[in-house]
């Protein structure tokens, strides 16, 4: 573990948040938000991958929803049409998606900046069409997909699926945090900082880019598999260009270069579109656009980082206050 300056309040905050997370779906707390939280969890899993890719390594991907989709579709196809065990299907999906990302990774990461954005966007659109044309159920999608289950214990209620999804999500978060604070993490940040310098220090830049790309794809794929076994339905629409954009938005709002920001980004974005904006009836879209612009204009480092800054400022101010008195 890197000697990072971790103030006590952070540990406290983490503890509180975890407790809230565990309590949320129980009847005596906020059961009505269970489903919303499941989607937040799924989005977080994908967003974390994007943070590693975009925030730490500095490589844009405007097609991440496509990997989310491949995970979902491979799981759906294998369980529904080939009658595989859902867990096995999930594993194969992750492997398949990873392999695919690996294959396209090397050529695509010869591109940089905006050109990379274009290529990933194109890739996403291509996969979207393939889902629509070749996926089970075609454009209308397919339903009645098996639920996940361990022995006789089936994840058949939102309550159970909530813990399944967040279990996965937290594991991914911890893993990612470990990677960030490791030799690998430094290599990634070095690439973001200066590719020339990184290369000169013995870091195989292109290889690391592809590795992290593959990892993010696997995260997305896992989320996709959980997604189909939660909705028990899959259709191409959930993985179109807009979906990719939403994911990027989540990552950016979450402040890119922070793994825990991913939860925040996914949370606020989902909350905004699924909860708060509903109060505005027909104007929700307009306000969504407006908020999106304002956040990006005023907080280029994302809402999370901005709030953290404000919070730190307040604390230092208070401190000084105390000192003076």
């Amino acid at each position: 573990m890197l000697k990072r300056f971790r103030p006590k309040w952070q540990h406290g905050a983490t503890a509180v948040l975890l407790t809230l997370l565990v309590c949320l779906p129980f009847d005596w707390f906020l059961p009505q938000y269970t489903t919303l939280m499941i989607f937040i969890g799924l989005s977080t899993m994908v967003t974390v991958g994007l943070c590693l890719l975009m925030g730490y390594t500095g490589q844009v991907s405007l097609g991440q929803a496509a990997f989310y989709g491949t995970g979902a579709y491979i799981s759906a196809a294998l369980t529904k049409t080939c009658g595989f065990n859902p867990w096995l299907a999930m594993l194969l999906a992750a492997a398949g998606t990873g392999a695919f990302a690996f294959l396209i990774g090397y050529p695509i990461f010869r591109l940089k900046g905006n050109y990379l954005a274009m290529a990933t966007l194109g890739l996403g659109l291509i996969l979207y069409v393939l889902f629509r044309q070749l996926g089970p159920g075609g454009p209308s999608g397919t339903g009645d997909i098996d639920i996940l289950s361990i022995g006789s214990f089936g994840f058949d209620t939102p309550f159970r699926r909530y813990f399944l999804v967040w279990g996965f999500c937290l594991v991914i978060l911890v893993i990612s945090q470990n990677i960030v604070n490791s030799r690998t993490g430094r290599a990634l940040r070095a690439i973001h900082g200066s590719e020339a310098a990184a290369e000169s220090l013995g870091i195989n830049v292109s290889q690391f880019k592809v590795k992290i790309f593959v990892l993010s794809a696997i995260y997305a794929s896992l989320a996709g598999s959980l997604f189909v076994h939660h909705l028990r339905f899959v259709s191409p629409q959930s993985f179109d260009f807009i979906a990719s954009v939403k994911l990027v938005v989540m990552a950016v709002i979450g402040g890119l270069a922070s793994v825990w920001g991913a939860i925040f980004g996914a949370g606020t974005t989902r909350l905004l579109s699924d909860e708060i904006l509903l109060r505005f009836g027909e104007w929700d879209v307009v306000i969504y656009g407006l908020v999106l612009m304002l956040v990006m204009i005023l907080m280029p480092d994302g809402l999370f980082v901005w709030l953290k800054g404000v919070f730190e400022n307040l604390r230092t101010r208070l401190r000084q206050g105390k000192v003076e008195t």
Binding site: M54, V60, L62, P107, I108, R110, L111, G113, N114, Y115, A117, M118, A119, L121, G122, L123, L125, I126, V129, L130, Q133, F241, I242, V245, V248, V249, V252, L256, E282, W283, V285, V286, Y288, G289, L290, V291, L292, M293, M296, I297, P300
Partner: protein
């Protein structure tokens, strides 16, 4: 496939192509000057179409006036977008800028939907409806307008960029902002100009194509994506490249339909176009790498 049939496919390709081209042009101009991919470009096109319809039918203006006014309004929206959303966003990364433009797109789309409803509309034809026969193939009079406009606009832009002072200044910013600044070119003004120019282009495109393609508050997204692909094929390099990209895209799509076999069918025409795009990007990346090494 008979000769006149082939010609028909070609015309269809050219018509769609010029639509993509004129949208692609907008992308290229803004990108060249500001290095921003403006995902709201499609919305300018939508505005052009919607406004010319609203002004002509609802406000009862004569069509030409409506078209001109709608182009003016579209440009104004472009200007506002730059001044309020882009210029205020300092130290924003490539990604945040992309998101800002997407936010703007969603915003504009929403407003139009609220203001004029969600039904699709079609402004009046410029010159009648009777399609013209040409060597056994048929062409919509409005399609001629679309193709013609695209060509004229391209020529105009070429002249503008190579012979007017402002045009050269824009070009200078595109090639080397720093140097441009040193010789006293106001980069911000140029960026503003590029947005206005792109928005105007979008408006023109929208106004001219809407009678042919119909339009609706949400038409911008798809058109924008197609135009983006066109511009990408052109490499966001020069206006001409973008136009060629647009025509390539249109013709590839139309020929995919013509072939209509397995992967080469109308269902996959987008895929084919996009694969072409990826191949071009990768080919170019190889060259870029070389340029870096040699430059």
């Amino acid at each position: 496939m008979s000769a006149d049939q082939f010609l028909q496919y070609l015309i269809s390709g050219l018509t769609q192509g010029s639509i993509y081209a004129i949208i692609g042009l907008g992308f290229t101009i803004i990108y060249a000057v500001t290095r921003i991919i403006n995902f709201a470009q499609g919305e300018f096109v939508m505005l052009g179409g919607m406004l010319s319809f609203i002004l002509a039918s609802a406000a009862g203006m004569p069509l030409p006036a409506a078209v001109v006014l709608s182009i003016v309004i579209a440009s104004a929206v472009g200007a506002l977008m730059y001044l309020l959303a882009i210029r205020t966003a300092r130290r924003a990364s490539v990604v945040s800028l992309i998101i800002i433009t997407i936010g703007a797109a969603i915003f504009i789309r929403g407003i139009v939907g609220e203001a004029w409803g969600v039904d699709f509309v079609r402004p009046g034809f410029f010159t009648g409806r009777t399609s013209i026969e040409f060597l056994g193939a048929f062409i919509h009079p409005q399609a001629i307008w679309v193709i013609g406009t695209t060509i004229l606009v391209t020529i105009f832009l070429h002249l503008f960029f190579s012979y007017t002072m402002t045009g050269k200044a824009l070009k200078a910013c595109a090639i080397n902002p720093v140097a441009a600044g040193l010789v006293g070119i106001n980069a911000k003004a140029m960026a503003l100009l590029s947005f206005v120019l792109a928005a105007a282009l979008g408006g023109i495109g929208g106004a001219v194509m809407a009678p042919l393609t119909f339009t609706a508050y949400n038409a911008g997204l798809m058109l924008g994506l197609k135009g983006f692909v066109a511009a990408s094929i052109g490499g966001f390099k020069s206006q001409l490249a973008a136009v060629i990209g647009g025509f390539m895209l249109g013709i590839v799509e139309s020929l995919a339909v013509a072939a209509n076999w397995g992967p080469f069918s109308s269902a996959y025409k987008d895929v084919i176009a996009l694969i072409v795009l990826l191949l071009i990007l990768l080919y170019r990346s190889g060259r870029l790498a070389e340029e870096e090494r040699t430059g």
